[in-house]
Subunit: 759 residues, 2 copies
């Protein structure tokens, strides 16, 4: 018995797909129809109702099993730490939204409450996220401009303060964002985040970091910059800043620079001595406390005109209804915010879900964020997602469940209700500096360009285009462009496949690119062509061109020449200029009047494309031998073409049409087409679509290239001697040779039978 | 010697990709770099200069070889017939553009002159095309509205008549269209037409037919309908028509119905007796002459208020400059017109190029159409493309070259300059009726829905969405939506591939879906998983899920459990609770305190994901046998996974990252991964991108599934007896069996060597 050795020794019948199916018993399988799936989906049961209930209210499944003894202390510690970060980030990110800093605390409070009830992630810290905040801020700047452009003044009551307008716009956009997220969640389309590929997200967030950086310059330099919006807004903003650079407040600039340098250095220390420090130094909180005290002590605001946070709106305000005009004019922006906000939160929560081995439900997350944003917007907050850094704090300080999130919300609430006044002397430039220094990670993504360029040019292109579009055209359009380009790359990658002509590696059943190997075997008249990609509307013509190049002639041209020759022969037979004997044709005239009929047939050119019809002829014409009356027809050396379909993962309607016409052209000039290693699903589809007819039959499909090759050799070179036994398998060869008598053309398998019909 | 029979008998070493390369000499190939291609592209020579010259002025290559004796008569006959059709279509399609009928004659004249010089098609009849005319008409209606919306009045001089405004807008859009086409041609992007797939074009043109139909209703019913534009314009138009239906001019309606019925019947006769009629009956020309005479004789215009064509602008007018405001506001429309106009003309000319066996140059066609449209617009015509019916006339009446086109232009010129007044009494409802009756072919495309539904659901979806979007949102947006959806289908098709688990078909080297066949062989612990599509950002997670489902467990979870167990064992060894003897572990305590350390490690969860490190242990742990102190670790039956990559035609960066993490997870729990039939280009890419490291080596790549399987069997069941010799190959089996001694584990090939390093 020969197994367990490293020799590949196989003896089996050569198979076409059809003969293989006939000889191997198949299982009758019931394939579920769409109706079955629908029935499954809508079937009702108590268990299903319970499952749906706990899906829509995840807290009902985890809170009853809450392990108070072991988890509560952890959650409290984590919640307090996260709460401190939340307060600071809330204040800072509110500047990005162009609303007073205090509203950032609302965004760090309201969404957490609903997420606690509805969310499926245990470690996510819900709240403001710089990119999302900036995207909301773009809308605010567009709708509430500093100058009076006069267009948008009609959408607000005349007596409304600019601040209230800004808050109203931010809240309205946030609610619309929530509505989109809720809608997508209920439609169960949480999977759309898979369309945001890594290079696209990386390019997009890097561009967002540039936008955040530019938007914070005005706080660091303490300039009054009008809110530019639309494409190229960043260019106009930079132009404005540089033309007003002499108005910079030096005190603010110095404070910012000091903060940035100190925070940068301490963060580097935190990073380097990660393992040795029990907890990272909370340098941002420390610097905030120091600068607030110093600013209060030396009265920076009065003395140096340093802009300060001022009194935070104390307490909470009654909910408001969204501004319908804003809703109408911020459709695209809100959709982008909904997608980006969700995508960021989902990817962060997935990281921790994998780490701690629990399951995140994408659709439920969308619902949770949708309701959270509607709720938050109603209470004058702005769109929430998550900040990676804050979630990292929540997880690393030991948070076990969303109870930690709840505690952090309580801390934020305490600041809002009780101790907010302490933060009044904090300079806004400090917040700006803290935002800028936290961009380091996002800006470091520039290094990916080089890495991607080496790895994959298309992905690098996606990064660059997403980045440039998002920087120049704005984040909402940039996201659209990025997704579009990224999806296009899938088409590009398959559009110009590297086709190759294969040859047999001598002594084996292996076929490789003939240009790559020395020791190859290519039988006369056989071409093996590999299509290394799916075939669809955008590449079927390209493949046809490549195949024609590989074969070396245009089959349609040959067919027309042969049909013309045939017509002449028929005519000569009619006129008696040609005689037929048992040995072939005998030409009785000199053939000088052969070319006169060249032109009269021009209108019947369609007929030349039809299959060659020799029924009326007394004998078949052999196109390889010279024709009578020296009618010129180019001779064709190729008799068989094998198409390797192993990598063809799908065919669309255009491809089927194109493929059929290609195959027909070859079949009509008596070149046999063999298709090898085609996926069974594609074969089934071809049969279902009526691909096959008299000329193209399912018998052209072979299991492997080698099966097809054996069939070809059997047909064309039965006397030729060939060995597919490698010299490298010692001893085997000789024995197999002696088996010659056993294998002497006693072919009972139907493998190659279809060719007999053709002849 | 055994060849020429239908048995697949092969004996060769089992190969990994690496061993195969080592044992088969490869050719050193120089791959052209991007620099080489650039150098080729910019290399200069006289021949190249000549080629470029004749590329840009194709007439220089075909006119000198014009065969006056044989072709001129054909061209004249064809030109006159085509000219008559041109005149009628020009008048009719001008109504679609909302300009006076006479301007249609300009569109049938000017572009032909430039195309004669620049075009590469010999049979194309250049001139107005209904869909393109309608798209231009949409812009005209938007810019020049019947009511005074007040917005667009500023862009025209106050004293300009409505008619002149309409002509100016149409001419401006046409010039912009030409500029786009010329630009695309010079940028050599003629290939973009491949993105217009057949189902998309079919859905789009059907929608266009609906628009044309609705736009002609006002002429047939003789109603004054204001020009609606933008999304849902067709709904508003229909609403308006139905609410004013009582104002219908009965005389016009009757004339139209009579014309439609007669033309329809005669066209059916033409179709049915195609072969018997020498030329099709020119029913449209006949009906036009009859109705014009009758209208003149009975003075329809005065007696029945029938609207007539009236006096055509006699002669030609001086060229005009485009209206810059129109140019700015019709960017999107002009681009759509440019694409649609070119796509239609290109596809029609390709049909005849294939039929008559000559070559069409897509980029030169773009240049030719661009210049033609700029020229035509400058002389107050509207955008030209081709009408399929007119080109069919030109070709079927024997046209040989564009000289026929030139003759047809002369006919049009004669009508414009001399006999145009004869057409003055022609009722416009006749033209409307002729346009409508000619929509039959386009409207018949509705039948494609059913065909596509049966053949390919995705293509059917593309058809429907392109159709609905183009009907409801307008032709320009509809085209964009159609292209977008069509490109998305490429992603969809590969996104949720039908993965399958394969099994060996007994007695062969063939692997098929295990659910499909009865007589299969699946060795214990081996899973063969087939990825039937390229892997990229949108499906890598889906494949991971499918693979985990197929294998039946989550490798990461197993790894963590093992690492936890390992940690406990190390601790017990330290504490002396575990002893090691030559026979294994001996547990010395009762293990009651095993679970207390469960929680303390929660923060070092990252470590649990690392490779299992047994260096510090005095002996290796066998995970399959029960662990000491009954530490619970799930046992894993699978020892080898084969991934069939035959259909993986590309991998992007996200896929490489995802694949690597999947492979690592399996390797770390000591499951061997084998990748079979991977394309060599992908393998090269993986090597270039630093995919491989200590854990994942290039040795996991095998030539075929069977090679991998032989290696697995060698490793895990060397004593087991297996036969890959089919019973269906008579006689061979016994002989091969007797060869057992020769093949007895004298493995000298390096095929399987890498596993020795692992153990």
């Amino acid at each position: 018995m020969h197994s367990g050795n490293q020799h590949y020794i196989v003896a089996r019948p050569a198979y076409t797909e059809r003969s293989f199916k006939e000889q191997n018993q198949q299982v009758e399988r019931y394939h579920k129809t769409a109706a079955d799936h629908l029935r499954m989906y809508f079937r009702c049961s108590t268990a299903k109702a319970k499952r749906i209930f706990s899906t829509f209210l995840p807290i009902t499944s985890w809170l009853p099993t809450y392990n108070v003894k072991e988890w509560l202390l952890n959650d409290i510690v984590s919640g307090v730490s996260t709460g401190l970060v939340s307060v600071l980030q809330g204040l800072a990110f509110a500047l990005l939204v162009s609303v007073p800093a205090g509203y950032g605390l609302y965004s760090a409070f309201f969404p957490v409450l609903t997420y606690f009830l509805l969310g499926t992630s245990k470690h996510l810290s819900v709240g403001p996220f710089p990119v999302v905040s900036l995207m909301v801020g773009t809308v605010v700047d567009r709708m509430v401009s500093d100058g009076d452009t006069g267009v948008n003044t009609t959408i607000f009551p005349a007596d409304m303060s600019k601040e209230d307008r800004q808050v109203w716009v931010a809240a309205s956009v946030t609610m619309l964002t929530g509505i989109f997220q809720l809608g997508l969640g209920l439609l169960q389309v949480g999977f759309i985040v898979i369309y945001l590929s890594d290079p696209m997200i990386s390019g997009f967030t890097t561009a967002a970091a540039i936008h955040v950086l530019v938007s914070q310059l005005k706080f660091v330099l303490q300039l009054t910059v009008p809110g530019f919006s639309g494409p190229l807004a960043i260019i106009y903003t930079l132009k404005y800043i540089f033309s007003h650079i002499q108005e910079t407040n030096i005190a603010d600039l110095v404070i910012s620079l000091v903060i940035m340098v100190v925070v940068f250095i301490v963060k580097e220390i935190n990073d380097r001595f990660k393992s040795k420090l029990p907890v990272p130094i909370p340098i941002e909180v420390i610097m905030t406390i120091i600068t607030t005290s110093v600013s209060y002590a030396f009265n920076f605001n009065q003395k140096y005109q340093v802009s300060i946070v001022g009194n935070l709106t104390s307490g909470y305000q009654a909910p408001l209804t969204p501004n319908t005009a804003v809703l109408q004019q911020s459709f695209g922006d809100a959709f982008s915010v909904a997608i980006v906000g969700f995508a960021v939160a989902f990817s962060v929560s997935k990281v921790y879900a994998i780490k701690h081995d629990y399951v995140i439900d994408g659709n439920q997350e969308l619902v949770a964020f949708g309701i959270s944003n509607i709720f938050c917007g109603a209470f004058r907050g702005f769109a929430a997602s998550t900040a990676l850094s804050r979630t990292a704090v929540q997880e690393s300080t030991g948070g076990k469940t969303q109870v930690a999130g709840l505690i952090s919300a309580v801390i934020v609430m305490i600041v809002t209700l009780a101790i907010g006044f302490l933060l009044a002397p904090l300079p806004t430039s400090v917040l700006g500096a803290l935002v800028i220094i936290n961009l380091k990670g996002m800006l470091m993504q520039f290094r990916e360009i080089g890495v991607l360029w080496k790895k994959d040019k298309y992905d690098c292109l996606v990064w660059l285009i997403a980045f440039i579009a998002a920087v120049l055209l704005g984040l909402d359009i940039g996201l659209g462009v990025g997704v579009g380009v990224e999806l296009l790359t899938v088409v590009f990658r398959t559009q110009f496949p590297q086709c190759s002509v294969l040859a047999n590696i001598s002594g084996t059943d292996i076929y490789r690119n003939r240009k790559d190997y020395v020791n190859i075997y290519e039988p006369e008249g056989v071409k093996i062509f590999r299509c290394p990609s799916p075939i669809f509307f955008a590449n079927v013509e390209f493949l046809r061109t490549k195949l024609t190049e590989a074969i070396g002639f245009n089959p349609l041209r040959i067919l027309r020449k042969r049909n013309k020759a045939l017509r002449k022969i028929k005519k000569m037979l009619q006129k008696g200029e040609l005689m037929i004997t048992s040995k072939g044709y005998i030409h009785t005239t000199d053939g000088s009047n052969l070319n006169d009929s060249e032109n009269e047939d021009s209108n019947s050119i369609d007929e030349l494309d039809k299959a060659i019809d020799m029924k009326e002829l007394p004998m078949r014409i052999d196109w390889k031998s010279p024709l009578p009356a020296s009618i010129p027809v180019p001779s064709v050396e190729t008799h068989s073409i094998v198409l390797d379909f192993a990598a063809v993962s799908f065919l669309d309607v255009s491809a089927m049409k194109g493929l059929k016409s290609i195959l027909k052209e070859f079949v009509r000039i008596e070149i046999d087409i063999y298709i090898a290693a085609c996926d069974n699903l594609i074969l089934e589809k071809l049969e279902r679509c009526g691909f096959f007819d008299d000329e193209i039959t399912p018998d052209i499909f072979f299991l492997t290239i080698h099966d097809a090759m054996l069939c070809i050799l059997d047909r064309h070179e039965p006397s030729n001697s060939l060995s597919f036994i490698s010299d490298k398998v010692q001893g085997t060869k000789e024995t197999l040779h002696s088996e010659g008598d056993l294998k002497k053309r006693e072919c009972v398998t139907p493998g190659c039978s279809y060719f007999d019909d053709c002849i």
